[in-house]
Symmetry: C2
Subunit: 451 residues, 2 copies
């Protein structure tokens, strides 16, 4: 008789490793980790504090959202159907200039609620006041990688101050929250950071062995500007300043030459594909098939909830597949199983966490979601990967376990008061929209400089 | 004091007519129709059999799915990530050749469950055994337009027999089900119907004043073939045979020249945009902005659940907007409000039913859905159209009323046993996949002829 904290019985298990699918499986969890996964008929007996009935359910690794700005949930729906630069400069940046730390806390909590309710258990976030995101994550029980945003936009002093603040955050939070909080440095983009700042960020990250998260080749016009200013591509510039390494997580990667792709693959850079945001902001379509063929590891992201407008990774999986099929005019491109890999084990590789998450296997952290397959839209169920990518919805997620702890059960969040979070976040959002701040005028001046 | 059957109080009402949005609204329903809609403060007193509390909910017209093959829910997930013609010829057509009427009944019932649970209240279906779809619709309480599929593929006798059967269906079912069942004729496509058959269909439809539903310019290779065979486009051919009229509902409309678009607009042809299916089968992207600019009325469809793989019109609305933004590289294209119009009032225009459905206004049929806005992903809520298109999910639909009857309440279907339908449909599907039939070999021969 083996001791376990939680045992899940009778579920179909998508392991996302070479074992593939287990028909009637058992998962045992102890001390936050997976103690056992296998067929029910071959499993040892367990004495468990809690037994979860998994019949009619699919267990899979929690989804990993590799690029978001979670607190932007506060800005959802404020400026719609607008062009990227107009959207950023007229609405988003001025609003962000007014953000107080407590606003970010509520925005993050609101975003976490939505993420957990649609099956996401880990995210990479780039934003301001990441200490507040860490606090919210610790409270709700989320796993995350947090990258404080850094930029200088021509203001050297500002860039250095933000880098110092980010390093302070890294020292204080990396490895905290019971090991659930990780840190990266988050230079916003090549067009908002000077080469000098980028070089310093690379050196600091290498010094303490953490990752770097950046927006890369998202806007075509900014990519063209960079080429005009520096005589090389964004990728070429990142290579020059020493950032083009295996710990670099590059979001978007739309406007790349074959040479760029080759250089990124040579350096094992990690890529994040954000199909919904790319379509909504019309920034272009990344050539994911070519990136994968070049050997690059690609994860999926929702991007911020203000340019999506949600954080649902099930939707992102489906649109990820659809958009590549449409781009290459070939329905065989990006088949369902590969998409699920991108949302789980490949996402873990992108974050450098594939030794602890991304698959259901003994010894890994127990980040597991249970999907209720007893739904009309999941009937009949022939191809489990296709069902999860093309038919399942975030709302089919019935239970969420992170680090061996049940965070959601029967679609009810167990760790925070959902209604209270929604009310607070709605109030905070309204305040931001209605008030002006001193900092806002500074940011408006910074924006002018960029133009 | 006015008598009503149902009164919904305190909801935000999206009327989808010139009144736009009513903040705290009241809707009164009597004898299947909308008796009153307006502000709570200005409403008369009602004595009602049932009062529904609409606080925190959004009431909008039920969504209209203008193109599907609903019983194909039975084939969901059987052949994935395949090319259109391979998918049709190797999997779908052989399976369809084995379909018995009772299979279609269960397939339709399964599809209706999914549709109602995601807010659809009316559909245009093209398939076999539409009498069985009508039976299922009558039982569950759905509103529908049913178009028995007609084709000859070189077999004149087959085409005439199918047309005769379709006309028999029209006589028996048009206007039945308490007026909820409407009929059209459904020539499959230009490449599967001879010009002679198309002409006869047009004459029959005109004779009894009903609509015609067809697949138009979906496959680029078939469009090219038609041009080779007849020296004109699919649209040109339809014009020649007299089908290019205001009662023609053309699904897909991807491979069109500017001349085709002009000709369609001149004849007020109705268009159905199926973004998810078009992407999944990689058949190309229709130029919806150009079609709208030409003055054409465009509705939305999911297409069959085997090429989508779901029937969720909320997803279709979002992808409809995203795909046009990506195609035109302009985030301002197809704004949220226009998308909602396409899914409601424009859909009603496509079906020729805008005098009875598509908006919430006095005298129209009470086809209304209530959306629960108390969700993290719908918080904050600034722009109601954007929230519904970009953030809302089918699973946010809390209640569905069709023809003044509550079909779903608190997400529970009231008219049929959901679990029983799922079990029966899954069984029927398994039978179809495992058995072979006599008819299958005939269809395989027909397919060979087409090749």
């Amino acid at each position: 008789m083996m001791r376990a904290d939680i045992v899940i019985r009778g579920c179909t298990v998508l392991t996302m490793n070479e074992i593939d699918v287990i028909g009637r499986g058992v998962i045992a969890i102890k001390d936050g980790k997976i103690l056992y996964v296998g067929r029910e008929t071959e499993a040892p007996s367990f004495e468990a504090d809690e037994v979860i009935d998994g019949q009619g359910k699919i267990a899979m690794p929690g989804l990993i959202n590799c690029h978001t700005h979670i607190a932007m949930a506060l800005f959802r729906g404020i400026a719609e159907d607008k062009e990227l630069s107009t959207w950023l400069r007229e609405t988003i940046w001025p609003l962000e200039s007014k953000l107080r730390p407590s606003d970010v806390y509520y925005g993050a909590m609101l975003g976490f609620l939505e993420m957990i309710k649609s099956g996401t258990t880990c995210l990479l976030d780039m934003y301001f006041h990441e200490d507040m995101v860490a606090r919210a994550a610790a409270e709700i029980g989320m796993r995350c990688v947090l990258a404080p945003g850094i930029f200088d936009a021509g203001h050297k002093v500002l860039g250095r101050a933000l880098l110092r603040g980010a390093m302070k955050f890294v020292r204080e939070y990396h490895g905290k929250g019971g090991g659930r909080i990780h840190a990266m440095l988050g230079p916003h983009a090549v067009y908002t950071c000077s080469p000098d700042l980028l070089r310093r960020i690379g050196e600091e990250a290498a010094g303490i062995n953490i990752g770097v998260h950046i927006h890369l080749a998202e806007s075509e016009s900014e990519s063209i500007n960079i080429r005009k200013m520096y005589g090389k591509s964004e990728v070429g510039l990142l290579n020059d300043v020493g950032l083009l390494r295996s710990n670099l997580v590059a979001a978007h990667c739309i406007h790349l030459s074959d040479e760029d792709i080759h250089l990124m693959a040579k350096n094992n850079v990690k890529v994040v594909y954000n199909p919904v945001s790319n379509m909504k902001l019309s920034t272009g379509i990344p050539r994911i098939k070519d990136l994968l063929n070049a050997g690059l590891v690609v994860g999926l992201g929702t991007d911020g909830p203000a340019s999506n407008n949600c954080l649902d990774m099930f939707e992102t999986m489906k649109v990820a597949a659809l958009l590549q099929k449409a781009l290459y005019r070939d329905p065989r491109v990006l088949p369902a199983k590969k998409v699920i890999e991108m949302a789980t084990i490949d996402g873990a590789r992108v974050l450098g966490l594939d030794n602890i998450i991304g698959s259901i296997e003994t010894g890994k952290k127990a980040d597991i979601i249970l999907i209720d397959a007893n739904k009309p839209h999941l009937t009949p169920l022939y191809d489990i990967y296709a069902a999860l990518v093309y038919s399942a919805r975030g709302s089919d997620v019935d239970a969420v376990i992170i680090d061996g702890r049940v965070i959601m059960r029967g679609r009810l969040i167990e760790t925070v008061d959902e209604r209270e979070v929604m009310e607070k976040a709605a109030g905070v959002s309204q305040d931001l929209v209605s008030k002006r701040s001193l900092r806002e005028s500074l940011v408006r001046r910074l924006i002018k400089r960029l133009e």
